[in-house]
């Protein structure tokens, strides 16, 4: 019987670039910037890293295939470096590779780094991905975009709970307002202006019912983590040890797009979060989770995710959101750093960027965003589309908590 990952691996260093339109920096510069902060935080020599994982998504328009870009940019000492890609879970996948390598005993110290340089394509939004859906799907798939794919969820959610779609949109608007308020306090965030409900509600329509301010930014950025065993961490003089409590992924198998599904929730998130809580020994997530960074690619995604994480009851997320339950001063602050909404979504980096905030909050380093005495932080990524997706969940916390 597998015992899970809980408390087997510690994070000893993290780094994260400022996210934004980094016109003058390529993916190499971004990786080095995040790595420099990370290795300084870890207090080790680069030569002590025995294996590394790189998470990127749009390799075609960025670093190219293979992990050579990271190995060369960071001048790693001819160690194993593996590039992983699993849509928006790519950053968390890189982290999982490094964590599992340490947990297995295959190596003592491993690096996970994620990067995405999105602003080299010449147009807004994510890069066009009609060539990335597979040869057969290319013959029949609607020419969908990310906002369009997720916007569908709002119509499904409103129908399921008999709500007027405009009432759902108002709750969605508060999701964005709350994240902007947090992002305004974060010097590494891309978008740093608070917004009002009216601004969000009246922003130009991108994909009905998602307006511009229901959509996350598009940015360049990189984030990384160095992991080892709790024993080695102690031997390195680390006192406040942050350890991994759970790492779970769940992928669609065709049920949503081709079988039975209500169109109002994520089957994958519902399952992955349950498995993650079991792995972490969490019985009541609404009480035990101190804070979260979830995949708010679009406001509706965050709204529905609150229910799939078993924190808001089914159909109750709009109420919790409007009640401020997820605000920075709420019971379970969500997106304390500003989320994808303010950081944008350099895909390979996002999962690690979320962990960076949880890690800093747990260590009391979050400045004027600091949450009081957090013990457990959850991160969540959702890649693909509501009807066909990849979900990753990571839970980290104080060692032994």
């Amino acid at each position: 019987m597998a015992s899970g990952i809980k408390d087997k691996v510690a994070i000893i260093g993290m780094g994260c670039t400022r996210f934004g339109e980094r016109w003058n920096d390529g993916p190499e510069e971004l990786m080095v910037e995040a790595f420099q902060e990370c290795i300084q935080d870890a207090g080790i020599d680069k030569k002590e890293i025995q294996a590394a994982w790189l998470g990127t998504c749009f390799d075609e328009v960025m670093v190219g295939k293979s992990a050579l870009s990271a190995s060369m940019a960071l001048r790693l000492p001819n160690i194993s470096v593996t590039r992983v890609e699993n849509f928006c879970a790519s950053g968390t996948e890189a982290f999982r590779g490094a964590v599992y390598a340490v947990a297995s005993g295959a190596c003592d110290i491993a690096l996970a780094i994620g990067v995405e340089k999105l602003k080299d394509i010449g147009y807004g939004g994510l890069p066009e991905f009609s060539t990335a859906i597979g040869t057969t799907n290319a013959l029949w798939f609607p020419n969908l975009t990310a906002p369009g794919g997720f916007a569908m969820l709002a119509s499904g959610y409103a129908a399921k709970y008999g709500l007027d779609i405009m009432d759902v949109k108002r709750a969605m608007a508060h999701v964005s307002v709350k994240s902007h308020a947090n992002g305004a306090r974060n010097t590494k965030a891309h978008l740093r202006k608070p917004v009002t409900d009216e601004q969000v509600m009246n922003s130009p329509m991108i994909a009905f019912p998602l307006g511009l301010f229901d959509c996350c930014g598009v940015s360049d950025g990189s984030a990384c983590a160095i992991v080892t065993t709790p024993e080695i961490a102690k031997s390195l003089g680390k006192n406040d040890i942050i350890s991994v409590k759970a790492l779970q992924l769940a992928l669609s198998n065709g049920t949503e797009i081709g079988y039975k599904w209500d169109g109002a929730h994520f089957i994958t998130t519902t399952k992955a979060s349950k498995a993650a809580y079991e792995e972490a020994g969490i019985k009541n997530p609404r009480e035990e989770i101190s804070m979260m960074e979830v995949h708010d690619c679009f406001s509706i995604t965050e709204l529905v995710t609150m229910e799939d994480l078993h924190i808001s009851g089914r159909g109750k997320a709009p109420t919790d959101i409007m009640d401020g339950f997820y605000d920075l001063n709420g019971k379970v602050p969500c997106q304390p750093d500003g989320g994808l909404k303010c950081f944008g979504h350099p895909i390979g980096a996002s999962g690690l960027r979320m962990l960076y905030e949880m890690y800093n909050q747990l260590l009391g380093r979050a400045g004027d965003r600091q949450i009081k005495d957090p013990k457990i932080g959850l991160t969540h990524n959702l890649g693909g589309f509501p009807m066909m997706n990849v979900c990753s969940i990571a839970i980290i916390g104080r060692h032994g908590a």
Partner: protein, 485 residues
């Protein structure tokens, strides 16, 4: 007895008032004001001659077994492929058999529809074929502010010919050939080149149609007075009536040329008018049908009692009635690629189409065929090697399952302004079929603000992409929300 065993028509949803053209373009060529009345049918941006032929064919084959077809003839002057059997695409969209069937394209002349009909009837008469479908369709591009733009409309018609359950018995045909070039379209050209109208009217339609009808009557020994309806195309309404008058045909026996409600649909037009005539016909009625273009084909039919048992799904009349006004002339010119609008860098992506994958998945892509699990009975799309039902997951236990004619409802949807589209927003969503199965589909022929979750849909075969660089046209099925009625 051989003859027509089923018929159907398709006129695309949009109608543009000719006044709309005049308001936008009469400043440039005021002569177009001479035909200011009525409206023309305008195909949506995702339609072409093949997709409209498929729509007419499904209309015709409603309630008929498409597996019994042993010939599919496609007639058009605007075929998307110069070398790839266009009729083969129509046949594949119908899920017609691949074995023991002869499919052929009839092209390069506006009477190709009636010529295809004669060939189909002769094939059935010979005993070599039992059931041959003729689908005729045209989507002609015309330059802005021309008489061609005023006269032409888009549309399709289909006739099924066979031996069983004949609803209109074939009473012989007569053809004459005349290299009378009223207009032509050079190979590779987008537009027709037209000669002077007066000559076309008086020396073309006005003489050649009567000459061919006379030939038919002489050959068959019949009298024109025998016919209850005479059907021939002529987009000059005055000339259309003038020919009847000259021949002594009472206006009540002349089939309307559809100029006011549709415009001339080219190759499809005589067949579309014929469908409209059949929709009104009674047992015992005799119909004369003529097609014009570099000569003239004439065919005679006598309606049987079986006409009482047949109705197309919508028919020419139903299709003409199901219309939406297109008041935006710029939209029409964009739909026809007459103006250049920017799709943005996002719209530049243009991978080629994998012809190996298309061949492997032809039933799925062209025929919208998924599968039904023989273990648990679940209809599913797309068909993968393992059953989608998580409690089943049977491997390879499938039979083909056609979704094209299955009713369904919208489960979720959006209107996407970011997706590059000729007619933004791109509307798409997830559809649940009433008898099981679901699919993620583009929607078409709809207005976003009328769509709701739970709204019924029907399926329509559409052009999915046009690869301008390589000349390839890709097709798939889209959902058409039934907004009202």
């Amino acid at each position: 007895m051989i003859g027509v065993t089923a018929f159907g028509g398709y006129v695309p949803r949009y109608r543009m008032s000719r006044m709309t053209i005049i308001q936008n373009m009469a400043w440039y060529f005021p002569v177009i004001m001479a035909v200011a009345g009525g409206e023309k049918a305008v195909a949506n941006w995702d339609e072409d001659a093949v997709s409209m032929a498929v729509a007419a064919a499904y209309d015709c084959m409603a309630g008929k077994d498409r597996k019994t077809l042993d010939g599919v003839f496609f007639a058009s002057t605007t075929m998307p492929f110069a070398d790839r059997l266009n009729a083969g695409i129509v046949a594949a969209a119908l899920n017609a058999p691949e074995e023991g069937i002869t499919n052929a394209d009839f092209s390069a002349c506006l009477k190709a529809g009636t010529t295809a009909a004669i060939s189909a009837l002769e094939a059935v008469a010979s005993g070599e074929r039992n059931s041959v479908l003729v689908a005729a369709s045209d989507l002609r591009k015309s330059k802005m502010a021309t008489m061609a733009e005023m006269f032409t409309g888009d549309g399709a018609a289909a006739l099924l010919f066979g031996k069983d359950d004949v609803i209109a018995e074939f009473k012989g045909s007569y053809s004459l050939n005349a290299d009378f070039v009223d207009h032509y379209k050079g190979a590779g050209k987008d537009f027709d080149y037209m000669w002077e109208e007066r000559w076309v009217r008086d020396e073309g339609y006005g003489k050649i149609i009567p000459q061919a009808i006379a030939g038919y009557l002489k050959k068959t020994g019949m009298q024109l007075a025998d016919f209850d309806k005479v059907v021939y195309p002529c987009y000059f309404t005055g000339t259309h009536r003038g020919i009847a008058k000259k021949l002594g045909i009472d206006p009540s026996r002349l089939q309307d040329n559809l100029h006011n409600v549709c415009g001339d649909t080219g190759t499809a037009h005589p067949l579309l008018m014929f469908c409209a005539a059949l929709e009104q016909a009674k047992p015992g009625d005799k119909l004369l049908l003529a097609g014009f273009g570099q000569g003239c084909d004439v065919l005679g039919f006598e309606v049987t009692e079986k006409i009482r048992d047949f109705r197309p799904a919508l028919g020419a009349t139903g299709s003409l009635a199901a219309k939406v006004d297109l008041p935006n002339y710029q939209k029409y010119t964009k739909f026809r690629d007459l103006i250049t609008a920017d799709l943005g860098i996002r719209g530049e992506a243009n991978p080629n189409t994998s012809l190996t994958a298309l061949w492997r998945k032809r039933k799925m892509i062209l025929g919208f065929t998924g599968s039904k699990c023989t273990e648990c009975g679940t209809p599913q799309f797309p068909s993968l090697p393992m059953c989608v039902n998580p409690d089943c997951n049977a491997v390879g236990a499938f039979e083909d399952y056609e979704f094209a004619d299955k009713p369904g409802k919208i489960q979720m949807f959006t209107g996407d302004m970011l997706s590059p589209s000729v007619d933004p927003p791109a509307v798409y969503g997830l559809v649940e079929f009433d008898e099981g199965g679901k699919a993620f589909l583009d929607f078409t022929d709809c207005d976003l603000n009328q769509i709701k979750v739970g709204m019924p849909i029907r399926m329509s075969f559409r052009r999915r992409m046009k690869d301008q660089a390589r000349g390839f046209t890709g097709y798939f099925w889209k959902a058409v929300p039934k907004a009202q009625g």
